[in-house]
């Protein structure tokens, strides 16, 4: 059993799994970002490979579909020279009734070195890390509403790239925060890295007041939320939440909490606009903003590969 110790760290406090950003020291986060910086140049080379994971097998276990995230992990692993096996488990063994842990035991028997896990339930990667062979590393690629640590780290990389210093920033996170693993990861990373003002912006159904316990200022007014911000992180609004008891309509949401040029003008002139993708143009963000010169949405994707390379190479180098 895990007991109370942070299960992602070994006895020397080195990262052996990446399950959540919560509980990781600032130095660990900075080390990942620094390492990612060195990998960025690999992506510009003719031969985009380094041999750090040569001979290692990385299994992408996607219990929930996500082509984009899976692809970026696949590219990152391949650039580290790993063998990558993609398992679309949503449509295979568990659909036949095999339990999650049986699936893991079977894959462990195939000598996997690393599992990249996406699951619809919060905490699933913890269960896997707890039950897989000791030499196997687990990277959380998104679990339920809980955590999406590599997205959080690539967001931090992006912010550091454009703003350098975290300790003077105002960051607004706008949208469906209560259901968002990206928002949770961003909030933990931003608080750890010393951002003094983090605003959670949205209607009370999506941004309940008790979020302030995570160290954010809760704002239910878009203008107040983005005013003088250095960074605006827009979250994707899931289709199933666009109408119902959470929100009446996508149109009303865009009017009240969508980011358009007028609202963006309230932020600092050099504010950057981020989004984890995929984007709903005209729902949470206007096309002119997505394509405008303050948008850093595409660089986020590029940095994402380097950050995932950094995470995989660091945890593979640490033993349990």
């Amino acid at each position: 059993m895990f007991g109370r110790r942070n299960p992602q760290l070994n006895a020397n406090d080195e990262l052996i799994h990446l399950l959540s950003i919560e509980g990781l020291p600032a130095a660990t986060l900075q080390h990942i970002l620094d390492t990612a910086g060195t990998f960025l140049s690999v992506n510009d080379r003719d031969v985009k490979k380094v041999p750090l994971l040569r001979g290692k097998s990385v299994f992408n276990l996607f219990f929930e579909n996500s082509t984009r995230t899976r692809t970026t992990f696949e590219i990152a692993a391949k650039r580290l020279s790993a063998d990558v096996i993609n398992l679309d488990i949503a449509r295979s063994s568990t659909a036949k009734g095999e339990s999650l842990l049986d699936t893991i035991a079977n894959l462990s028997a195939m000598h996997a070195d690393m599992f990249v896990v996406r699951h619809s339930e919060s905490g699933a990667p913890y269960l896997i890390a707890q039950h897989c062979a000791p030499h196997v590393h687990v990277v959380n690629a998104g679990d339920g509403r809980h955590s999406h640590p590599t997205q959080g780290l690539l967001d931090m990389y992006t912010i550091r790239h454009y703003k350098q210093d975290f300790t003077q920033l105002t960051v607004a996170i706008v949208g469906d925060i209560v259901h968002s693993r990206v928002a949770r990861s961003d909030i933990h990373a931003l608080t750890t890295l010393g951002v003094p003002e983090i605003r959670a912006v949205g209607p009370k159904t999506l941004v309940p007041g008790d979020l302030k316990e995570m160290g954010v200022r809760v704002c239910h007014d878009m203008a107040e939320g983005v005013r003088d911000a250095d960074v605006i992180i827009m979250l994707r609004l899931q289709n199933e939440r666009m109408s119902g008891a959470m929100l009446p309509s996508a149109g009303e949401y865009f009017k009240t909490f969508g980011l358009d040029a007028a609202k963006l003008a309230l932020a600092k002139p050099d504010a950057i606009v981020m989004h984890p993708g995929p984007i709903n143009r005209g729902v949470e963000i206007d096309s002119t903003v997505v394509d405008g010169n303050q948008s850093v949405i595409l660089p986020q994707v590029t940095f994402g590969i380097a950050v995932r390379m950094a995470v995989m190479s660091i945890i593979a180098g640490n033993s349990p």
């Binding site: 059993m1 299960p7 339990s99 699951h119 339930e121 919060s122 905490g123 269960l127 339920g144």
Partner: protein, 439 residues
């Protein structure tokens, strides 16, 4: 007829508050002699015992009464759960237990109740008192044949953990039960707000688990109290979880509503933070709340606002917890932990032995007696003429909880590795030795 003499005991009778050294003689299924104090009772010399037990260092107390224990039957006859779980009961000193109707099939037909009672009786372990389903199939639509079910042996009517969505149905169910004076056992949980896997709060927010707000309990309580005022129905509230809920119960009791309630050993000792890194042993219903709620439950159990402490025993098989937190089956083994959990709480609150044990003996016995509409022929206490359901335990011995060493077939408990005070030495049901610890 077996005649057992227990000597050198510490006799604790929670009903009267008496706590003295003494001896007790059992003849057949009744307590024949209770000899209190140091002096020798001449009647003991004439008692022709077939078995004598030296209880030096041990407390003798009326058998524990657990108002919430699931036994997996009907539903898992093939696994033999009824026998193992009733054995777990007596290993934990529990001699009477009430089981909710959320079995498979649901306890909504007299034949099922008769069969369950028959099978339990033949095992000669703990006494089993089933609750009948309040509505057919626990669907919350049509009422069950309550009078028939009562005749078959149901001690009350319950909707287990299934909330009744339709308030009209709940209203009529209480009206109908009140017609015959039956007690309705309800866990206050709003059908819509109550769907979550953890208590709403900072922990659930951080871990991204769906949260059940306190409102789910308080709104349900407010509804139940209004319906009680209208119908006059007797209600036993099961497993309260929140400080705010307890305040409402306190006010309702002060008002004079015919009301009793219980809380489980989990809510008495644990809080949401114990979930740690998604520990599925902590996946429980109701979910673990915050420290202020636990403090309120501990205080309310001590001052009597909460009538009884229950084990909330729910057999969960091995694999059913090896799942992500939200998918893991809720519940935990508890019958063998009820005594230790009570003693641990009693020690911490400095309540004294008799008052501590009242929460798991005389007070739940009173709730059960009222629900059964029982005459006082089955008096529960250390009195001559009372039924000889007894638990004898070493108060000074402690043990470490290890699911694999329990008599229960269900190993999962959030108390694994806890140090528990009090070790059961033997348990008598109707004067017969139903459990004796090895060694």
């Amino acid at each position: 007829m077996t005649r057992t003499l227990i000597t050198n005991a510490r006799l604790v009778d929670p009903a009267s508050g008496r706590d003295d050294a003494g001896a007790i003689a059992i003849a057949g299924d009744r307590i024949a002699i209770v000899a209190r104090g140091g002096g020798h009772d001449p009647r003991l010399s004439d008692f022709d015992a077939t078995r004598t037990i030296d209880a030096r260092g041990a407390v003798v107390v009326p058998g524990l009464v657990d108002l919430a224990a699931r036994l997996g039957e009907p539903g898992s006859e093939h696994a033999g759960l009824l026998e193992s779980e009733l054995a777990a009961a007596v290993a934990g000193g529990v001699t009477s237990l009430v089981c909710p109707p959320d079995t498979d099939p649901v306890l909504d037909e007299p034949g099922l109740v008769t069969m369950l009672k028959f099978r339990a009786r033949n095992l000669h372990l703990a006494r089993l008192y089933p609750l009948g389903a309040l509505t057919q199939g626990l669907k919350g639509e049509a009422l069950t044949e309550m009078a028939e079910l009562r005749e078959a042996g149901c001690v009350g009517f319950s909707h287990a953990d299934v909330a009744i969505r339709d308030t009209l149905v709940l209203h009529r169910a209480l009206q109908y039960a009140a017609t015959f004076g039956y007690t309705v056992w309800l866990r206050p949980n709003d059908a819509w707000l109550g769907n979550g896997v953890a208590a709403k709060g900072p922990l659930a927010t951080r871990l991204g688990l769906s949260g059940v707000p306190v409102l789910a309990e308080t709104i349900a309580l407010a509804t139940i109290f209004e319906l009680m005022r209208d119908t006059g129905a007797h209600v036993h509230l099961c497993r309260l979880s929140s400080a705010a809920g307890i305040e409402l119960v306190r006010a309702a009791k002060a008002e004079g509503l015919p009301l009793t309630c219980d809380a489980s050993i989990h809510q008495l000792h644990l809080i949401d933070v114990d979930i740690g890194y998604f520990d599925s042993a902590m996946r429980l219903v109701p979910p673990l709340r915050q420290q202020r709620d636990r403090d309120a439950i501990r205080a309310a159990l001590a001052d009597g606002t909460i009538d009884a402490l229950v084990s909330d025993h729910t057999p969960v098989m091995e694999d059913a917890k090896h799942l992500p937190f939200a998918e893991a089956e809720p519940g935990a083994t508890g019958l063998e932990l009820l005594l230790g959990a009570a003693l641990k709480w009693g020690e911490a609150t400095k309540l004294g032995m008799a008052k501590t044990l009242a929460a798991i003996t005389s007070r739940p016995a009173a709730v059960l007696a009222r629900s059964r509409g029982a005459a006082e022929s089955n008096r529960h206490g250390l009195e001559e003429g009372a039924v000889a359901d007894l638990c004898m335990f070493a108060a000074d011995e402690s043990w470490t909880v290890d699911g694999t060493t329990l008599a229960s077939r269900s190993r999962h408990t959030p108390f694994a590795r806890y140090e528990m005070p009090g070790r059961v030495r033997c348990t008598f049901v109707a004067g017969g030795l139903a459990f004796e610890a090895a060694g």
